[in-house]
Symmetry: C2
Subunit: 201 residues, 2 copies
């Protein structure tokens, strides 16, 4: 019933995360009515594929330079503490930490977590790259900011042990009651962690 | 913090219907990880802008032909009853009716409904185009399939009066309890319409 080109486009749009057939169709129809947006988006996506890739050093998003390297804004920023390294799972986590303004060092994006259930073992983590980075950048402190989920905790524990031999200080982000949270509604594990991780005042 | 090209792309993506800043960012990041999808989508959107536009006759989606015309599959299908015309508000409504398989005639997409609150008056409806279509195609029966909302009903009533003079049979789609619906949970207006619109068996 639909033109073949449109069916193909709807199929492609439905491969975006969280987008089903119906939403993809809605996107496509809205762009038939707004041809300019389709043209601008086409150009923007072309540029994304051409000029954006993960930073060669840390995995954050970066523009590809003329000589083919990709260095992100954070790695290029000389005012950043270069001996302090924060390890995160995803770029989104890095962006969340940056918004908090609490991190003055640099980052390392793991890309994945240990996950026995999904068959992700230690050999799939970029350990060699991480070790090389710690040594070449003379990192003295590592903050493990993987999620506080089962996989995130397991990965943090694993990394802490692996990095011990390199003589760096390793810490884990705090887990507890979120800001403004009611104790009454906190789950047992969170509450347990809040008590265990108490700080003297 | 993000490369400028990426920020621009996220802004464009957030102009898609129902997409906010967060979702747009998620789309963009997923395509950094899947460069091929970005390239395919870029091409698909370019093709959309280049080759797809509303059908010149009915407003359904159509591919632009080599001589610059756009005729949809339904208008090109000679087996369709050409004297039966179904008037809908949007292309999505046309597609829903097509899926039902209950319509063997052709369509006319209005594009908008009368809406005093939004300042849409009769002069914004494509009345001239509709009249010309009815006369040139020798339409004998018109089905008004605008929504059963206040604006949709008002538009249907208005069109019924306007088309009276052309000597066509005009009908309105039935309003009542949906298939499988419980009377207990139907709202009063729907139930009232179901009773008013009863058919002898």
């Amino acid at each position: 019933m639909l033109p073949a080109r449109l069916t193909r486009l709807i199929h492609l749009l439905s491969r975006l995360p969280g987008v089903g057939e119906k939403t993809a169709q809605r996107f496509a129809l809205s762009m038939v009515a707004n041809r300019e947006l389709a043209i601008d988006l086409s150009q923007g996506l072309h540029d994304l594929a051409e000029f954006i890739r993960p930073c060669d050093v840390c995995g954050n998003l970066a523009e590809i330079s003329e000589d083919g390297d990709a260095r992100c804004q954070i790695c290029l920023d000389q005012r950043r503490a270069s001996a302090l390294l924060c390890i995160v799972q995803r770029i989104q986590d890095l962006m969340a930490i940056e918004r908090s303004g609490a991190m003055r060092g640099r980052y390392f994006v793991l890309g994945k977590l240990l996950s026995p259930l999904d068959g992700v073992g230690p050999e799939e983590l970029p350990l060699e790259k991480l070790r090389a980075r710690i040594q070449s950048d003379r990192i003295s402190e590592v903050i493990l900011a993987t999620p506080t989920s089962v996989d995130g905790e397991a990965t943090a524990l694993f990394l802490a042990r692996e990095l011990e031999a390199l003589g760096v200080t390793v810490s884990r982000i705090a887990s507890g009651i979120p800001h403004g949270g009611e104790l009454e509604f906190a789950d047992q594990i969170t509450l347990g962690r809040a008590i265990d991780g108490r700080r003297s005042l």
